[in-house]
Each structure stands twice: as structure tokens, then as C-alpha cells.
Symmetry: C2
Subunit: 149 residues, 2 copies
């Protein structure tokens, strides 16, 4: 059986995401795969406007977000048995950074929470859709319930 | 562990889809879930044009496609241990019909091949994306390789 070896769970740390992490952990256990977890801190300045950056890059804020994300990943890692060396905080465009990490780590399955195309999801786009459309590996989109976005 | 109980594999019968079926079958076996397979025959006439239907509904052609699809599902079912009562041919809009079937059968995971957003996929859209955006259950998109669309 050609199963999964490297499973990458992406997390937003939202309150509805627990089932996503649980499913990723269960799946990794069943396949005897290594589970990694990552969080993307979106800190890209908007530079496409002819008026220059609308939201400038804020180094201090980004550092704080990265610090907070690392702490949360530590908690999550303890809960799901993922050691620190497989916990990743990436900074930049979530799609680009997560896909880059996935390729670097030879990920064969990305697990991501999915909001579907309703509520704010329609306007903001969805990380799940974006990953699905561009990943070179499989993507498991876990439906989030009780979430409006 | 709250795993998957009803896995629905959607198939297009394209030559690159074997890994999709294999992964669905492996996953169903690991979770001790029931595997079902379905194929959607897209036979909706295009009725939105102000000039009337552009591609009229062809009952004979549809019947032939359904017949051919049922035979192919029988072969696939034999290969992956899916009995005839869990083989489904749906007719209409693939997204709507597959999602309707998934809800009717209490599917908790849809497995679908994914072409990504390159080649013709960009123009035609992707069943995987469409299912991901609208399914009420989890969706596993298996990356198709060696496929241009």
C-alpha cells in the first residue's frame, strides 16, 4: 500500500479547528506517517497600489505574532504528539509559504480546515481552496462546523 | 477515535485516476469504512442562453453514457471490493448530483481526483474545487500526476 508518510496540518488556531487537528493526528497514526504542524503569519504588505503600500509591513507586530504562534504550536504539539522540530511558523503569503514548506518537507498530504463558500469565505477566498488548486500533493479539507467564515 | 464511516469515491474513468481509487480504497480499509463509488454523467442542457438551449438534452446519448458508466463501475467495484449496491451513476450537474448523493448516503468523506489550476483546469474549473467549496463533509483531493487538465 502506498500510503502517506508526511502529513502537514495547517492551523489558524481558531476555536473550531480541533476536529481538523484530531483528524490529521488520527490519519497520521493510521498511516504511521510523521505529522507536522504549521501556522502562517500573513504579514505581506500590500504593494500593488499605485499609491504605494496601503498596509505597511510591521516588523514588531510580525515578531509578536510569530512568537505567539510558536507558543500555540508548542501547546498543540504537546496535545497531538508533534515534537518541536516538526512545528513550523511561516511568514508571508499563507498559500505560498505553506506550499513551499510542504515541498521542502516532502509532504504528501496537507490537512486544512475548510469553511466552504459561504459567509465571509466567499469574499476572502479560502486557504483550503487555494491550497487545493496549487498543491503538488494531496489535500484533505476538513469541514469546519459551527463556523460562519 | 471519530473516523470516517462512509467514503464516497467520485470517478471520471480517466486513465490517471487509478491512484485516486487506490487511496480511497486504502483509506476506507484503514478506517473500516464503507466505500462507495460514483460517476456523474453531465447531461444538463445549456438553457441560460437568450437564444435558447445551445446543447440540447440528448436522452439516447445519456442512456448510453449511463449504461457505459455502470459497466465501468462494475469493473472498478470488482477491483476495489465495492458491491453493486454501493455503485452509483448520477445524471445532471456533477457537483449538485455528487453532493446530493453524498448527503443521501451520509458520506463523511468524498475522495476526488484533482487536476489543480493549470492547463484546461483553469478554464473549465475543477470538480475537486467545486466539491470542496460546497460539500458539507470532508473532501480528500488526490493530486493527479501526468495529467494536463
Amino acid at each position: 500500500m502506498k500510503g502517506y508518510r508526511n502529513v502537514l496540518l495547517t492551523t489558524d488556531f481558531t476555536e473550531h479547528e480541533e476536529p481538523v487537528a484530531e483528524k490529521a493526528a488520527d490519519l497520521a497514526a493510521l498511516y504511521q506517517a510523521e505529522l507536522s504542524i504549521c501556522h502562517a503569519v500573513n504579514s505581506l504588505p500590500i504593494t500593488e497600489s499605485v499609491y504605494g503600500p496601503i498596509i505597511p509591513y510591521d516588523g514588531d507586530l510580525t515578531a509578536q505574532l510569530v512568537f505567539a504562534a510558536k507558543r500555540k504550536l508548542l501547546d498543540m504539539g504537546a496535545l497531538y504528539g508533534v515534537p518541536e522540530q516538526r512545528q513550523w511558523v511561516v511568514v508571508g503569503s499563507p498559500k505560498t509559504e505553506i506550499l513551499g514548506l510542504a515541498e521542502e518537507k516532502a509532504t504528501d498530504l496537507i490537512v486544512v480546515g475548510s469553511h466552504g463558500r459561504h459567509g465571509l469565505g466567499v469574499l476572502l477566498g479560502s486557504t483550503a481552496t487555494s491550497l487545493l488548486n496549487h498543491a503538488r500533493c494531496d489535500v484533505l479539507a476538513v469541514r469546519l462546523t459551527n463556523a460562519d467564515v
